[in-house]
């Protein structure tokens, strides 16, 4: 019953001075969007922030010392894998078999499949690097492992079969070691995607999400008719594939790459026919002490720092930290603010009195000092910084939401909803809150700006982390000891400053759009 009534009970367009001439069929948010679009500065800032986010998401493809793709034979990787198998996978499997022999228990038997899978993975990876006929030979050995395992487990774990199988396998190892040893084999050149294999599940999620969103926007602009479904369904459609992909990606065995591709490709250790590097071919922690403190040049676009690391690379990766801190911290405090403000504004009375005291207490604390003090005895991590900024910053939002509730709670549409017997939670979250969200959006975008400022100040004072990935403030902190070199100070600071300005301009834009009366 209630769902049929929402359209009538929550007015889509609360009357906000002089905007009664709304075209038919245009919702409140359409109107806000139309107003926002008129503000060129705000739209420009929005696009700027969007670009920053894209750069941050695509950081591995923009700035890394790993090649995106190269075609070549890769002896050292083969050697590494080979050793992993010979000294890791194989003996562990043998051990598991012997353990099964010693104690014929289910737990000992349960270990076997995982060990077999490891060996299988290692041998398949080795085989993939070999010419096809040799690869077949190697795969034949894999069969030996499988049959040995079957023999060992088939007879209900009777220990008598195991020693023979172990002997068989050890002989197999010796044969393989000889014919397929890294010194003897001729490797088949193939395509490697080092950047791709270095990505984590979160990278995959955001990369696909960004790609799909761009596709959606492109489709909407070029063929508006081709995009079916409501906005909510479209968002679901865009969110689902990245989530699935990321989930699949996270099941991949973890790879810890320590190989220095760049060095090896350069030295000819990897014989390659072609290699495609990211446009800025430097790693975040790639030291070149002979190039330290170099000013901006064609080689290092914004110069290098005291360890000879490329500054632009560090800034691009730092954008990930700085942007996400602002976003997550504000998400946390908007959530807390809505919760507290709703309670205080809707229930009033003593609830309001208590919560207002809580708000007052939080306001009185010197926020920055409090954050410093709390961070001092927590483990330094970006998550802690986000959490602490989030926990201390909610007062503005809480006061705003409280005010909106006080203003809206007595309006006709709320009274109508109450008279119809709609539950109070539904009234709060479906009727009042959506009408009070606009000012929250404004303060959230100002909030992101100030959260980025706070994070960078904290990192500047040394309370952030700068290993492995520094935030912009963290780079400035490193610049403190070498402040004579202006580029280390100027460029990361400019990044912070432009981002903060952009968020502030967006906030102004939204504020003017939702309430043109305030436009000055």
């Amino acid at each position: 019953m209630a769902s049929g009534l929402t359209a009538y009970t929550s007015p889509a367009t609360p009357d906000r001075g002089g905007m009664s001439a709304t075209p038919k069929g245009e919702s409140y948010w359409d109107l806000v969007l139309r107003q926002f679009r008129r503000n060129r500065l705000a739209v420009g800032s929005f696009l700027f922030v969007l670009t920053l986010f894209l750069i941050a998401i695509a950081a591995p493809f923009l700035a890394d010392n790993r090649p995106i793709v190269f075609r070549g034979a890769y002896p050292s990787q083969y050697r590494q894998l080979f050793d992993e198998w010979r000294m890791g996978g194989h003996p562990e499997l043998i051990q598991a078999l012997l353990a099964l022999q010693a104690a014929n228990s289910d737990t000992a038997a349960a270990q076997l499949p995982a060990r077999l899978a490891t060996v299988e993975r290692q041998l398949t990876a080795l085989a993939s690097m070999l010419p096809s006929d040799q690869a077949d030979n190697l795969s034949a050995y894999l069969e030996k492992y499988r049959s040995a395992m079957e023999a060992a487990t088939d007879r209900g774990g009777v220990s008598a079969a195991i020693p023979a199988q172990v002997q068989l396998l050890e002989r197999g190892l010796q044969e393989i070691s000889e014919t397929f040893s890294p010194d003897r084999v001729a490797l088949e050149p193939k395509l490697y995607w080092p950047v791709l294999s270095s990505l984590r599940a979160l990278d995959i999620f955001f990369l696909t999400l960004a790609g799909l969103l761009m596709l959606l926007v492109l489709l909407k602009c070029t063929l508006p008719r081709a995009v079916p479904g409501s906005f909510r369904n479209q968002m679901l459609l865009v969110l689902l594939p990245p989530l699935l992909l990321a989930a699949m990606w996270s099941r991949r065995p973890a790879v810890f790459e320590t190989l220095n591709y760049k060095q090896q490709l350069f030295d000819g250790e990897i014989a390659h026919s072609f290699a495609l590097f990211p446009p800025i071919p430097y790693g975040i922690n790639e030291d070149h002490l002979e190039e330290k403190f170099q000013g901006p040049s064609s080689r290092h676009w914004v110069g290098t720092d005291g360890n000879g690391r490329d500054l632009l690379t560090r800034m691009i990766w730092g954008a990930r930290i700085s942007l996400s801190v602002g976003f997550v911290a504000v998400a946390i405090y908007v959530f807390i603010g809505i919760l507290v403000g709703t309670m205080a504004g809707y229930f009033r009375g003593w609830v309001d009195l208590v919560l207002s005291r809580a708000i007052e207490i939080m306001i009185c604390f010197p926020a920055f000092f409090l954050i410093l003090a709390v961070l001092a005895f927590l483990q330094p991590s970006m998550w802690n910084i986000m959490a602490v900024i989030g926990i201390t910053g909610w007062t503005t939002e809480a006061r705003l939401v409280r005010g909106e509730f006080l203003r809206l709670a007595d309006q006709e549409f709320v009274l109508a909803a109450r008279a119809l017997g709609i539950s109070k939670w539904r009234i709060i979250f479906r009727h009042i809150l959506p009408n009070g969200l606009a000012p929250l959006l404004v303060s959230a975008s100002f909030g992101i700006a100030s959260a980025i400022l706070i994070e960078s100040s904290l990192s500047f004072l040394g309370f952030g982390i700068s290993i492995p990935v520094p935030s912009w403030g963290g780079i400035l902190n490193e610049a403190r000891e070498s402040f004579r070199y202006w580029w280390i100070t100027i460029f990361p600071g400019l990044a912070i400053f432009t981002t903060v300005t952009a968020y502030n301009l967006i906030g102004e834009g939204i504020r003017d759009a939702i309430d043109p009366r305030l436009k000055l």
């Binding site: 010197p366 926020a367 000092f369 003090a373 600071g493 912070i496």
Partner: protein, 334 residues
Amino acid sequence: MKTYILKRLLLIVPTLLGISIVTFAIVRLAPGDPAAMRIGSAAQGMVRNQQLAAEIIEKTRQQFGLDKPIPVQYWMWLKSIATLNFGRSYKDNRPVMDKVRERLPVTLQINIIALFLTYLLAIPLGIFSATHQYSAPDKVMTVGLFILYSLPTFWVATILILFLGGGDYWHVFPISGISSLDAEHLARWAWLKDRAWHLALPVFCLTYGGLAYISRQMRAGMLETIRQDYIRTARAKGLSESAVIFKHALRNSLIPIVTLLADLLPAMLGGSVIIESIFTIPGMGLLGFEAILSRDYPVVMAISTIAAFLTLIGLLLSDLCYALVNPTISLEAQ
């Protein structure tokens, strides 16, 4: 009106208690045994016998009441801070209040100068912008102030040091301390000049952010006021433009600006921490920063309590000011 003021004053009590509970809780939640911290690692190193060390810690715990239940400890702490006794610093065993008393004047001096400059510049700028709305100077000023508002303080400070404080560029200002080494022997005017020379950069850094904020608000408030009917009436009856602006409009648009002081105060302490640690100014901010770094909890507790208390008073004053000029206000709708 009287009941409002009375109620507002009474509501301070729970807020004060809340502030003290939060401060106490944060320090109690901090890892590390306060007694062990108190003795310090140096003393522990000297005592080879571990049992003896444990005994000493136990005795210290008793001496400072750390063996009592938390509520009792809280009550003891509350009683002592009511008499402004914040205990002794872990670092050098001096009473915390002495340290604060030493440092507070410096911070107050800088912040009062900054606050004064902020309002001194912000109000005329705001008035000018509002009365010349959409003119070229107004547009330039709006953009300029917007940029100032978004500039990170610590970055500006670093850049000023980089370009004006020696290094490879100009050497115009000193980059640390509040006076020269031989300042005590200087004549009054020379001393004042020396002090101003030292404080120029820090005060600038503390001023520009608030200046941008306040003058934007001033412009907004002034524009709001100028549109009122009574201003139109004043113009209609033939008052000169300056009389309209300065006599009729200004007074009303000043009120919200004065109450913004409450917003500015907590931000200033945060700013002091950053600025004082960059320019090595021996004030409360630096004291607090160093206390946090060395986990000198009594000092941390004292500074956050004092700062919270001062801010609370600022809030109260601005609320009362507001109530004085706007008698229709009630606690509920605030």
